[in-house]
Subunit: 245 residues, 2 copies
């Protein structure tokens, strides 16, 4: 059986999604919970390698195993073995051809900014703090320049080794609700740190460091040095992964 | 000088507001930061004793001291000595007669419920989780029975020693935003655990364990055993304290 799990987590206390030798990852905790539940050694394959401190409400993880646990009860069963900063919120059967990375159509991320005079202690692990008032209209204008298919080499962390740096952004928007500014972005895939560099660039636009139209020049330059700084990990949440099936 | 500070905190990692001998409290951390900043021993007097795990966006603390730090810069100055789960978000001068508890006109608390099929790891410390769908209309109907001046002895944790159990609730409302249900309550004062017992009672109404009108009978009984169970600490946030001056 090929089972696709939807996974939520608070990334604050983990060294990212991906299993590592010396640090605790979300993947390791999930595999441990599944192994305990199913009384055999279980490995999963995740859709996205989220970094340390990055959160998820819609990570996906593929599990290939036979089990007598009804698919409708699997989430509840796994959750009883998981720590309370990780939760499985869905489980469904997928075909043998399904691949957690190659079968992706698009992904949505949210980047949360606290735009206020003072920090909010309760949001310290879930937002980027920006004291200077953000000009939302200018940020929205800048969003328009990102939407489409471009070579996003300027929005890739140095050292990343993707084969191609061409990606399509289907949607990018900015919403303010009191002192919270949410950036929502949907694309067919994202380069390493791409969403955080887009967020950092939009923060530069919102604080008048960059003109909105400067985004066009950044993209054309294909040069990381041109874009804004990489916004912090804690503001980022992987919201949803859309699959072919 | 009599200085009133507004204080925000994430109560997760503290044994409540009030200074204690063997456990770390928010008050202790704030006094330590102020003492370091002002280079003398500083004590503050808080408006409300929040419990372990309870949060605040608008706690108030009175500080009697002479200082050469301009009042407009005090918040920023203190914050640089505070851990990131506590923040001072305001400072103003008040009269010599001001008292952080007796000068209160009213206080507002929020009680946050996650009403969803699965837990949200990011809200685990900031909400009460209720899986069964809540009937918001019934909860709102129940709210009406709380508003007014009553003897709220039935909504007081046993062992509490308030002189009178008569309190006035000016406003009590329930709002749903997707899977978040916020209860907002404003009153001239609250008995020990009163807001959490009101929240627990409203959850019983929302899940059909109590009829809305049963609230009238609970109040009339003056008997704690009649009300719903005390909802968890993590859902509760002290939002604002309104003062005479």
């Amino acid at each position: 059986m090929n089972i696709l799990l939807t996974v939520s987590y608070d990334g604050t206390n983990y060294f990212g999604w991906q299993r590592q030798k010396n640090n605790i990852s979300v993947q390791q905790r999930l595999e441990e919970a599944l192994s305990e539940l199913m009384r055999k050694n279980i490995e999963v394959r995740g859709a996205s390698r989220t970094d340390t401190g990055v959160h998820a409400l819609g990570q996906a993880a593929l599990l290939k195993t036979e089990t007598s646990i009804p698919i409708g009860k699997l989430s509840y069963a796994v959750n009883s073995f998981l720590p309370d900063d990780i939760a499985v919120t869905g489980a469904r059967l997928v075909s043998d051809e399904f691949h957690p990375q190659y079968s992706v159509i698009k992904k949505t991320y949210r980047y949360k900014i606290l735009n206020a005079e003072f920090r909010n202690p309760m949001l310290r692990n879930y937002s980027e703090f920006v004291r200077q008032p953000l000009d939302i209209e200018k940020m929205r204008e800048a969003c328009g320049y990102f939407i489409g298919t471009y070579d996003f080499a300027a929005f890739r962390a140095s050292g990343s080794a993707a084969k191609t740096t061409v990606r399509t952004i289907f949607d990018l928007s900015v919403e303010r609700n009191k002192d919270i500014v949410d950036i929502m972005v949907t694309g067919n895939g994202f380069l390493y740190n791409m969403v955080r560099i887009i967020a950092g660039t939009l923060i530069y636009v919102g604080t008048d460091k960059f003109k909105p139209s400067f985004v066009k020049e950044i993209i054309a330059s294909k040069d990381r040095i041109m874009a804004g700084k990489t916004a912090g990990a804690s503001g980022l949440t992987l919201m949803k992964i859309y699959y072919k099936e």
